[in-house]
Assembly symmetry: C2
């Protein structure tokens, strides 16, 4: 018998999630059945979508997210003891999983790709769902061409920081919005963005016009809200917008969403396309994406910065910190 | 020498256009040169885009729009005296035109298609630019499938009234928004919409939920603003939005656009695509579209209702009336 701990969401969040919305539950795992695998979590992810999807899931529920786990016991020869896998078991230290089709594709476990020596923690970051989100959500929807101007909001986050770098690899000019001057400096000095802008200070409309004098061709939107309206209203004809998230409104009541300057005039006059996506739409291409991401990280073209919080007991704080924008790059918890 | 009259826009509109923003100018047309054609306007169009594009054109300018003209004199054997053509010469009674490539594709004249006995006035309506806008803007961007639920705003207007009927031809369920109970009745009783809704009265969110219990798959947006936000937030996964116009904001200062409930959460959670277009994007397919539109109008599947104002001197009033939503179907002026 293995004693396991997991975070259960007891109440739907109202505004910023509270510690009392969660309960840390101890329970005993049953013996393994045929095909089952016992994993011990090593790296657990905290992401904006954990907040966003809360309203859609009936409570109580086990807090989902991606984790990298070490196989401790196995009745599936494809996953031997000592190997690692990625699951969506989320905020738990031990779990029993099985490699089978699931109604929700996120729930399917998979083996780590060939990391060529890179650390396994990246499999919940640049070489996992966030990396694939940046890769497909940007390349497939924005269809960037060399020389074009690309804007990324939430640019210092797990996905945004990768999108900006991928845009640079494609030969684009890249402008990133982030929430502090230090992050802006990090984008410019460490990640090679052409320009970082602090959306919290100054005249954003004016600053963006100066940074993008030829207008904007592609916009990768992580935040929604007024910042996105300002950016979209400065786009060029036939511009493409990939909508990955709407962090600015995730803590708002979904039945009373905030307002922002309307987009239809820009949509019509500039013949823009704005497309939302989830990464599952690209599931058949994941393997190809992971190979490319490993190659880019390995070669140093893609810097996969991690913001590590230590300790299973600090998952909640890591989550709240990420929602408040404390992280540079991927927020991840080391168990 | 032919005496001609034309409306010149002297000032950029502020809010609702005013009569003083225009000047009716009399001038003499020079003798025809080789390749030139003298046309007398028979039908002149008034459309929302005349308001929308005002801010982008330096004043003074001759008020553009589509018109059907009768050839009165010709030095182009392809356009003999007595034949008719469509030009973008707008609010003038006589004009000299030439069939040649123009930097702006809208400025290129063309012969009337084979109308199979239908009236030439339709060439600024259902069998002209508005008809093509409905045809390509809906079919190419919304990609409707039989059985899907389609919503149209500005549904009693020139384009919207056609979109709803084309959606019915495709086997869709169609809900149209208009600005009066009489228009709603007209949509349901005359045009065959499954449901008409008055966006000015009652609880629009609730009325739409009742009218579209299975959610909305396609939305053809003529209006923008809060109504569009309400509709878009009720769309189904993988829904498609074609943005044709933003009438609700055309009389607003373009540097101070109004706000509406933000769209990014719906875009992400439902993986929507929202695309703006102008009809010139489909120019190579126009001929094919015109043939289909003639066929549908001829067969009675597409009712091409015209709202006719008589008299060249009433162009301004017809324009203001159309902007205020007085028209059922296509607003057109008989010279």
């Amino acid at each position: 018998m293995v004693k396991a701990r997991k975070y259960v969401v007891k109440k739907h969040f109202q505004g910023v999630p509270k510690k009392e919305d969660f309960e840390l539950v101890e329970h005993e795992l049953p013996p393994l059945k045929d095909g089952e695998i016992l994993v011990k979590a090593e790296w657990i992810s905290v992401d904006p979508y954990l907040r966003a999807y809360n309203a859609n899931v009936p409570v109580p529920y086990d807090q989902f997210s991606y984790q990298v786990g070490l196989v401790k016991d196995s009745k599936d020869p494809n996953y031997p003891v000592g190997s690692r896998l990625v699951s969506h078991k989320g905020w738990c230290d031990y779990a029993i999983v099985k490699d089978e089709e699931m109604p929700n594709p996120a729930e399917r476990i998979y083996k780590l790709p060939d990391l060529k020596g890179l650390p396994p923690s990246l499999c919940v970051g640049a070489i996992g769902m966030p990396g694939l989100t940046a890769y497909f959500g940007f390349l497939e929807i924005c269809k960037p061409k060399a020389g074009e101007t690309v804007v990324v909001s939430g640019a210092a986050g797990a996905v945004g920081s990768l999108v900006g770098q991928i845009a640079k690899i494609q030969g684009c000019k890249v402008i990133g919005f982030a929430g502090s001057d230090d992050k802006v400096t990090w984008l410019e000095k460490e990640l090679g963005f052409d320009k970082g802008l602090n959306y919290k200070t100054g005249d954003v409309t004016k600053a963006l016009k100066e940074a993008a004098p030829k207008g904007i061709d592609c916009y990768f939107d992580n935040v929604g809200g007024e910042l996105s309206s300002i950016i979209i209203n400065q786009m060029n004809a036939k511009g493409r917008v990939s909508v990955c998230g709407s962090i600015s409104s995730y803590n708002d009541d979904p039945t009373k969403l905030p307002k922002a300057t309307l987009l239809q005039p820009a949509l019509v006059f500039k013949r823009l396309t704005i497309q939302g996506f989830i990464i599952w739409d690209y599931k058949p291409q994941w393997e190809e994406g992971l190979v490319k991401l490993v190659e880019w990280v390995k070669s140093g073209q893609l810097k996969a910065k991690e913001h590590v919080t230590e300790g299973f007991e600090n998952l909640f704080d890591a989550f709240i910190g990420m929602l408040a924008g404390e992280n540079y790059g991927k927020a991840v918890v080391k168990v």
